[in-house]
């Protein structure tokens, strides 16, 4: 096979400068007329976002992983690795945990523990070309289904596989399809929920950017099983690249006859359209999503009736999220047994998590269900940067909760996370270290839920508002005795009194942080102290006179002229003038590190 230069160009790759790498590679190839010697592939995200922008060199059956590159490095890579076969050591991935460099992508610890049945293809497929996907067996599942199976057979396979919805509560996918299939109507819809609203989760974006054909194929199979004639993919407008690639993919699938009338010469007709979301977290809730597709404000509607009976335009509608759909072709191709062989007793297959926050190897990880949090964080994630202490991991976005160190050996599946007070959600996994204040994080999530509330139920609109106000007070040092109990009380009621998933789970971040980090709340309330040194009102910035080098940088940059002192002498911060913007803290040269935060604040 011809050597290839594989450049990862998802949104985050591009944000880190992948475009320049592409340009450099193309220019060089054209200038030196090297089109025969190697090809350039522009793919979606490879998962290890920490390494962006990166290039994967496919050479002699190996995938050499070069990371954090600059445009000028491209020339070297082509000349040395592609043309001569030598490996450039300094571009190789250096693992902070094992303190080793790795040549092949598969050897990197980040990838070793993963099982990349969905994301794996991102590396090999150029999303612009349907042929790439087909080369790896793409759309063969559609062919198989249309030729060999009746709709009920497909549903049975999915039921047998044990696949559960990857978007939140984990409803068995096969069962949902069955309900929708049974609903009597000449018109039915399938919907792909790509309104990935959980801040901190981006696997759906990555799948759509890197391999939207797998999602499309899943939807076609689902539509066939259910008996739908029309499919809709509801994508966040914040994902322009995903929308673009999806558009290209749909066109190609159409041209190849996987969409449209008489698909693959069968009697099955099916069309997919893309609808863009307009920025409302609540539209991830299925009834809100449907009203949004209908061109209305996304306020959830009471269930029953469920969308499988009466959904889009009052017709039976089956909604699954991107990751769920992407699993379908795999299950059809490789069989239900293969799929149910992965994972735990009740949660089958793999799950993609976005491992972000205070972690060394940030990125998307796809792991079999049942893996422990510790394995993900320590072995795949490579631990916490800067030698800091792990504090908690937040899963499930604003609806989820914070899981403390003591539960790190928890095998991950739907039930265990729910039991811990959190939830699977779409799979955001935000790692927090000792510098993260749990009260502040609870306040952040709740404030998010408050402003994303549609405003319909008093419990959600006003209950979360009351809670945010109390948390505001606590983080400002105005906490009172009884606040914690009051928060718990409101939280439990909000859970029960709200109409939709957003309201019913909005209090989770507060309830779990109270459950696992009560001490931090008490420190805020009783001692007026923020142990993580985050809450502005509870800290002060001071300059350690023993460390201060008198370099004047802090004084020059202080926006409120609160820092005084003589050059080469010792500087001090006037607490009355200080606005606690933190610029001095970040700007103090690392050789001094003289600016410190203290709590409780200096009066």
């Amino acid at each position: 096979m011809k050597p290839a230069l594989i450049i990862s160009a998802g949104t985050c790759g591009l944000a880190r400068g992948a475009e320049a790498l592409i340009k450099a590679a193309k220019d060089y190839q054209r200038k030196r007329r090297l089109h025969r010697e190697f090809e350039i592939k522009i793919t979606g995200c490879h998962g290890l976002c920490e390494a962006e922008p990166n290039i994967l060199v496919h050479f002699n059956g190996k995938f050499i992983f070069y990371q954090k590159l600059k445009p000028e490095n491209v020339k070297d890579i082509i000349e040395k690795t592609i043309l001569k076969g030598t490996i450039i050591k300094e571009f190789l991935w250096f693992d902070s945990e094992t303190r080793k460099r790795y040549v092949d992508i598969d050897e990197i610890p980040f990838y070793q523990k993963q099982k990349r049945i969905l994301l794996g293809h991102n590396v090999l497929i150029e999303p612009k070309y349907i042929k790439d996907y087909m080369k790896f067996g793409g759309y063969s599942a559609v062919g198989k289904v249309l030729k060999k199976y009746r709709p009920l057979d497909v549903i049975n396979i999915i039921k047998k596989s044990g696949l559960r919805g990857r978007g939140g509560a984990g409803f068995p996918t096969g069962k949902k399809w069955e309900l929708c299939q049974k609903a009597k109507s000449s018109e039915k819809y399938v919907v792909c929920n790509a309104d990935e609203g959980d801040p901190g989760a981006y696997m759906d974006r990555s799948l759509l950017e890197g391999n939207s054909h797998s999602v499309i194929e899943g939807i076609i199979i689902g539509a066939y099983a259910i008996g739908a004639q029309e499919g809709i993919i509801y994508v966040r407008n914040e994902y322009p690249l995903a929308i673009r690639n999806l558009g290209i993919a749909l066109k190609q699938a159409h041209n190849k006859g996987f969409l449209g009338k008489n698909i693959l010469k069968s009697k099955f007709n099916f069309e997919i359209t893309v609808v863009r979301g307009a920025g409302a977290f609540v539209c991830g809730e299925e009834t809100a999503l449907l009203t949004s597709i209908e061109g209305r404000v996304g306020r959830p509607k009471p269930r029953p009736p469920y969308p499988t009976e009466s959904g889009l335009w009052g017709k039976p509608t089956n909604i699954n999220n991107v990751e769920t759909w992407a699993n379908i072709p795999q299950i059809i191709s490789k069989g239900a047994e293969w799929f149910s062989g992965i994972g735990t007793k009740r949660s089958k297959g793999t799950k993609i998590f976005s491992l972000v926050g205070k972690i060394n190897n940030t990125g998307l990880v796809e792991v079999p269900m049942g893996i422990t949090l510790r394995e993900i964080i320590d072995e795949i994630g490579g631990g916490i940067p800067g030698g800091k202490e792990f504090k908690a991991v937040q899963t499930g976005g604003p609806s989820g909760g914070c899981i403390p160190k003591s539960l790190l050996d928890l095998p991950i599946d739907y039930e265990s996370l729910t039991k811990a007070g959190s939830m699977m959600g779409s799979g955001g996994m935000i790692v927090m270290d000792e510098d993260t204040c749990m009260v502040d994080i609870a306040r952040y999530f709740l404030d998010f839920s408050l402003h994303e509330s549609c405003g319909k139920c008093p419990s959600c609109r006003l209950g979360t508002k009351q809670m945010v106000e109390i948390l505001d007070r606590i983080t400002e040092g105005e906490g009172k005795e009884g606040d914690i109990e009051f928060l718990e009380n409101i939280g439990k009621n909000v859970k029960l009194a709200s109409l939709c998933g957003l309201g019913q789970t909005a209090a989770n971040p507060v309830l779990t942080t109270i459950k696992y980090f009560r001490d931090e709340y008490l420190a805020h309330i009783k001692e007026k102290r923020c142990p993580a040194l985050v809450c502005k009102s509870l800290i002060s910035y001071v300059i350690d006179s023993e460390l201060c080098g008198g370099c004047t940088i802090c004084a020059k940059n202080c926006p409120s002229d609160a820092i005084t002192g003589e050059p080469k002498g010792i500087y001090t911060i006037d607490q009355k003038k200080c606005t606690k913007c933190g610029i001095c803290f970040t700007i103090c040269p690392s050789k001094f590190k003289a600016v410190k935060k203290v709590s409780p604040p200096i009066k």
């Binding site: 801040p199 404000v297 972000v356």
Partner: protein, 148 residues
């Protein structure tokens, strides 16, 4: 209004496309002008109050003209734990506006977004469509100076 009419035609005057229509109008004008919404209301026979309701419900819409430059600070969780709040504060202080507002001379608009899905490289600021990852407080001065 010709531009609005073109958008409507592209959507075949379908009322159910109203959200998409508004998005396209926003691409066209950089915000949603009142006249455009009135025109859409008339052409599609959708009550203006309903269109306004949609425009104020979804965070992606702006009813006020935006400035020449648009700074969007991602406030996703990953960015937040990496200090996005301080960045936003500093933008607010430097530009002397709150998120969602535009400076008086119409040079800058400041906005926040819930998550851009680039969590690995947070905190992120999007400046005029360009994603800047691992944004530092001191970068603010740099990009604001580069205005000319």
């Amino acid at each position: 209004m010709k531009r609005v009419e073109n958008v409507l035609r592209e959507h075949r005057y379908q009322r159910s496309h109203i959200i998409q229509i508004l998005q396209d109008i926003q691409v066209e004008f950089n915000y949603l002008p009142k006249e455009a919404l009135e025109y859409v209301s008339q052409r599609l026979k959708i009550p203006l109050s309903k269109i306004y309701s949609i425009a104020t419900f979804y965070a992606g819409f702006s009813l006020n003209p935006r400035g020449k430059h648009l700074c969007t600070v991602c406030m996703g969780t990953a960015c937040y734990v990496r200090g996005a709040a301080a960045i936003l504060n500093e933008f607010e202080r430097k530009l002397n506006i709150k998120p969602g507002a535009t400076t008086k001379e119409m040079n800058y608009s400041l906005e926040t977004v819930n998550c851009l899905g680039c969590c690995a490289i947070g905190p992120i600021v999007v400046y005029d469509g360009k994603y800047i990852g691992e944004f530092k407080l001191k970068d603010i001065g740099r990009i604001l100076k580069g205005r000319a």
